[in-house]
Subunit: 379 residues, 2 copies
């Protein structure tokens, strides 16, 4: 019975598959193929890569060449200030952490505290400043190397960035940002300038920059790649993830503004359990009887997908869950229970790390080896 | 004979007169009329006001109200970095100095070192940084109150300005800057953002800001006046000058890029004399005989105009020159000699002050009472 589902390709599955291939074609990125994955695997293993959650790239092969030729590379990522950080915000950071640990490279984390203000009508500077510190704590909790990581807020670090931002801005006109960011005549002039600030960290080192990010972020780096060589720098490389599906189903992207669709990092255990039980889209059958008979469909089951992407790195255990669910041996409620337990364990640990991170933040922002050097450098 | 000229209105005179009235109508500013001039005169006298070189304003009456009601006001001006500072660059600063001395108010001087870079293809950041220091020395040489004046370069002071620049930028869109600055789709995004940086100092104090500037600068402050009240601030007031005429004639504006039309602050005495003798447009007659007979026309004579605007504040002495020239008693060469002598005296003194200014700059930029406070303030 279960076998039906692998042959009977559901619209969801088709759509899912096709969409990501389509995005690769549309954006002109490259798939992380077996040969590239094998190169990466030589240095270490990561289930988000192994399971093709990170599935697309630009110039990752050149990054590996540079690494192998001892030229090195560096990582850059960032996070907009958000009132409610959710799980979807973490995957690029987890990939960054893995890359940092695996290759021993520097990581720059931009907190664009002006961009959020410029883009949103409903957040004041004061609210953003408050939230920014919480965002930074959440990032610090993930455990980056305090001597090789620099977390900075644009408004605080702007003096060191502004000259380079102007050099970049001089090469980018309204037509460019209109095409890439969809700006129009009503777009405010702050938002118009912001892409220059976002591009600055791509030039922080005279090495290739690698950005782990959702595939939807790719267009934002096109301008950088267009102007990089005329700036005497490298075209930024990227490694792209799919989207962590929202609770409502495997299509689309988790949103910070729809609480029923996302798990927030500050959701308590009971809330997490309730959200998963109530909202997590299920690949199961309408009745237990039917489920036992026909089995569930892991490909569209959000709980299974979250385990696959995020919470169950062990392949054997994941396969067991997959097979049990698909055969009907495991019920939807049981599958959800597994996710809820693992998720709550993760969040409990995250919150404990966040408490401890209060002490780490100072190093990541100001006094770690890399941070200290960055405050002494004007670009 | 000389009387002919006051009745026979030459095309130049008409054009000159009409143009400035037309600019007032076109820009929607107000004339500094006798009543407003009388109010100002109560506090002190200034030949650039008396002779209507500063002839137009916005809200100068409100500035005086504020002053008289002990609410106070402050001054703001600025100067783009230029390879060749010329006399035309000084008049707004001289008016600023007079206003500062007369009313005892603070003055903020912005050096938009990013704007020059963004607007010009032919100047590198390094060249701009070098020139900026020379520009600042020239300003410091004019003798501003070191405890009440703050001279800052945007790229150096940006951290203190950027948040407010973003707040301003959020209220200004591409349509606005297109209309006022003539930006288009090819304008770079740095130049697009710059007006926000230019507006920041208008909000440095919770008082009305007064900007002494050429009338052609008026449009640049319209956006500030449009958004000021929604920012909880004051619409910026202004006092507008005519243009210091180029050597070539009383129309147009002195340009830094046409050496035969301008006197640069670093022109030596011989160069000054040569330029005036050779290029200064003369209101005299073709031959000495004719000149003695018909007299000269001070209204179109650049040497006379420069004496009037800049170098001969004494009304009685100016009248003597005027009458002697108009009657034909004074020849063009003699008039030019008077200007050359006064100009060289001015420049000699300026360069001596510039030498001494090396010590003053530190206070104006960093350690004077106002400067110190400004470095401790983030807007």
């Amino acid at each position: 019975m279960a076998e039906q589902h692998t042959e009977q390709v559901t619209p969801w599955e088709v759509e899912g598959e096709v969409d990501y291939d389509k995005l690769i074609r549309q954006f002109g990125t490259k798939k992380i193929d077996d040969s590239l994955y094998s190169r990466l695997k030589k240095y270490g293993d990561n289930h988000m890569l192994r399971r093709k959650y990170f599935f697309s790239h630009r110039d990752l092969d050149l990054v590996l060449n540079d690494y192998e030729q001892k030229k090195g590379f560096f990582l850059y990522t960032g996070l907009a200030v958000s009132k409610n950080m959710h799980l979807g915000h973490l995957t690029s950071f987890l990939m960054s952490r893995w890359l940092q640990e695996t290759f021993g490279v520097n990581l720059y984390v931009e907190i664009p505290d002006e961009e959020k203000f410029l883009a949103r009508k409903d957040m004041t500077i004061e609210e953003i400043d408050q939230q920014a510190e919480d965002v930074i704590l959440n990032i610090a909790a993930l455990g980056f190397d305090p001597e090789k990581t620099f977390i900075f807020k644009d408004r605080e670090y702007v003096k060191n960035m502004y000259t380079l931002a102007c050099k970049i801005a001089k090469k980018v006109n309204f037509s460019n940002v209109k095409a890439v960011f969809g700006f129009n005549e009503q777009t405010n002039i702050g938002l118009m300038f912001y892409p220059a600030m976002q591009m600055v960290p791509c030039f922080f080192e005279e090495k290739r920059c690698l950005i782990p990010a959702g595939i939807d972020q790719d267009p934002y780096w096109r301008i950088q790649r267009d102007i990089a060589e005329s700036m005497g720098g490298f075209k930024t490389a990227a490694i792209h993830s799919q989207f962590l599906p929202p609770l409502s189903g495997v299509e689309g992207k988790m949103s910070a503004s729809r609480p029923e669709n996302a798990i927030y990092l500050n959701d308590d255990a009971k809330t997490v359990r309730n959200k998963i039980m109530k909202y997590a889209f299920s690949g199961g059958q309408p009745t237990i009887e039917e489920h036992r008979k026909k089995g569930g469909n892991p490909a569209v089951d959000v709980s299974y997908q979250w385990l696959k992407i995020f919470f169950e790195p062990n392949d054997a255990r994941l396969k067991q869950i997959h097979d049990d669910y698909k055969s009907g041996k495991m019920l939807t409620g049981e599958l959800k229970q597994i996710l809820a337990d693992k998720l709550n364990l993760f969040l409990e640990n995250h919150r404990a790390e966040k408490e401890k991170a209060v002490k780490k933040v100072e190093k990541l922002k100001y006094s770690g080896k890399l941070a200290k050097k960055m405050w002494e450098t004007t670009f």
